[in-house]
Subunit: 333 residues, 2 copies
């Protein structure tokens, strides 16, 4: 089932107003949820709305809380998210990092006491749209065993890196687990095996069986010990820079996963290059990757964000695919 | 065969002076090579010396070239390495990023036209010793197929992230390939299989056989498509920030791999926390990871840099292990 962008957007604005958002904040949050859904990330778009509303009703998310500056020095600022909506807090902090980058060449905003930012890529697209290099990451509850550990001891701590390019921004948006739990669930429901090993089964062997990994909770970090280490240092940086909670201090109750720490970096490219020069540098790198012979005849090698762009164009033309059950559920909220 | 730190250091100082380094630059470069060897990274320590000297003799590395500032804005500076020794250029740029971080809260130095920095972790330890968060990365020649590609189209672009901690700095030092070519060679020579899939064999299957991967040149990016994307964005950032060469512009002749681009970031923690507070935050994260039950009874879960520290302590006590052939070769240079 596909619906027009505006239909989804206006329905989400209605719902945001109903749960107490002010009109301008309702509009921005609804836009971020709608764009994530349009870009093929319904897991952090429409499909996430019921949990988002439930967290508002429980008081985990305070719709009225606006982030305030809590400290910092020079081009590094610490902001307190005060338990507000994670997407609005993140958007405000990337905007602030962009402003700092105009003055200092780069800006860093470290945010504490925030909620899940939904699609992290949104803040990468935001930076790239402004013509800046953007980098941001978040910590999460413990949901991934460190390499060598039996139980979850690090977060999957997604990182986003975005590079502006007139012919299509390059936007990397990746968690430290090879597959998210949402992806495991999706493969299991479709009765499919994963395209690569995704974790350990109950006998400690690597497996592509999503159900076996869900049963052990032992998902695989990207690059094994490497992604495990990267998850740990991203958590260290986020909590040291923001002064907020580290992964080990975050609740593993999915309706109470709050008090997250995040970092937003923006690098000003306008001061370093003409926009033509910056575009040429990025285009040449993309062209080289595209030119490599693919493993499978007729397939292509993609840059990060390339398929997002084609999904976006398709969904803007044909309408945004929605799960009819979720769509009915949201309309009834 | 083990030799004392001072024996290795003084021999390397002698050799540096012989190939034309000034005394202070000879001392710093020799110290960096010696420390890498002491820390268990002989591949970018003693074992790399013959190639380093060969590149000096060919004129690829100019021992007298000092980096100069070439541009920038505010807390972001562009430096030109002028083909000087990569380790000295990198050390100077991390030092400059640390200085900028005293003024701006963070500092970014983007270096172009430099040579291989040898052990990248050295500049992470440098930042952590100064009490700062450090992050740096380099691009390389194309030496890794992007995900889906048959031929090398990205670099393995190592990234280093360092977090200071009084009881042992956390220092992540990782390339985007699951195993380096040096590691593949080492396993092959010992007749061992890799501890995890490291690349593709000639039939396109994942394999743990190091020789099969060396034959195809199709090493595996960490996290498959994820590490491939991360390698690409690190190259984009390094060349856009520095104005220097991208991976596709770097020679794949190992004696002519020059004109690299690198980024050095330092974040000032002193302005955000008392050192006691920063230590407590980092210690609690380390303690949580250490507390997780290991998969294998009696084994431990390590933080990045933890084993480096124990190797260092052992080698400082017992002497630094050296390959007798390489040691003789270096003494004869």
């Amino acid at each position: 089932m596909r619906i027009p962008f505006d239909t989804l957007y206006h329905e989400l604005v209605r719902l945001h107003l109903q749960v107490g958002f002010s009109p301008d904040r309702a509009a921005l949050s609804a836009r971020l949820f709608t764009e994530a859904t349009r870009d093929g990330v319904a897991s952090h778009g429409l499909n996430r709305i019921p949990r988002f509303v439930e967290m508002i009703r429980r008081g985990t998310i305070d719709v009225d809380a606006i982030p305030i500056q809590a400290g910092g020095f020079g081009a590094v600022e610490q902001w307190d998210g005060r338990g507000g909506p994670g997407n609005l807090n993140a958007h405000a902090c990337m905007a602030r990092a962009l402003t700092l980058s105009e003055k200092y060449g780069l800006g860093c905003v470290a945010l504490r006491n925030t909620n899940h930012w939904m699609r992290g890529g949104s803040y990468g697209w935001q930076a790239a749209e402004a013509g800046a290099l953007g980098m941001c990451w978040t910590n999460t509850m413990p949901n991934l065993p460190a390499w060598g550990a039996r139980e979850a001891s690090v977060g999957n701590n997604p990182i986003i890196i975005a590079v502006p390019r007139p012919d299509g921004h390059v936007v990397l948006d990746m968690a430290m687990s090879q597959f998210s739990y949402g992806t495991l669930e999706s493969y299991r429901r479709q009765g499919k095996v994963l395209p690569a090993d995704g974790g350990f089964d109950s006998e400690g062997n690597l497996t592509r069986d999503p159900a076996a990994i869900e049963a052990t909770g032992r998902a695989l970090p990207i690059g094994l010990w490497k992604g495990s280490g990267l998850a740990m240092v991203l958590d260290l940086m986020a909590s040291l820079l923001s002064g907020g909670r580290a992964t080990h201090q975050i609740s593993t109750d999915i309706h109470a996963e709050t008090g997250l720490s995040q970092v937003f970096l923006a690098f000003n490219l306008h001061r370093l290059h003409s926009s033509d020069e910056a575009a040429r540098i990025a285009d040449d790198i993309v062209a080289f990757v595209h030119a490599a012979a693919p493993i499978t005849q007729g397939e292509s090698v993609y840059y990060p964000g390339e398929r997002t762009r084609s999904v976006r164009e398709e969904n803007e033309t044909l309408g945004i695919p929605v799960d009819p059950e979720v769509w009915a559920q949201v309309q009834a909220l």
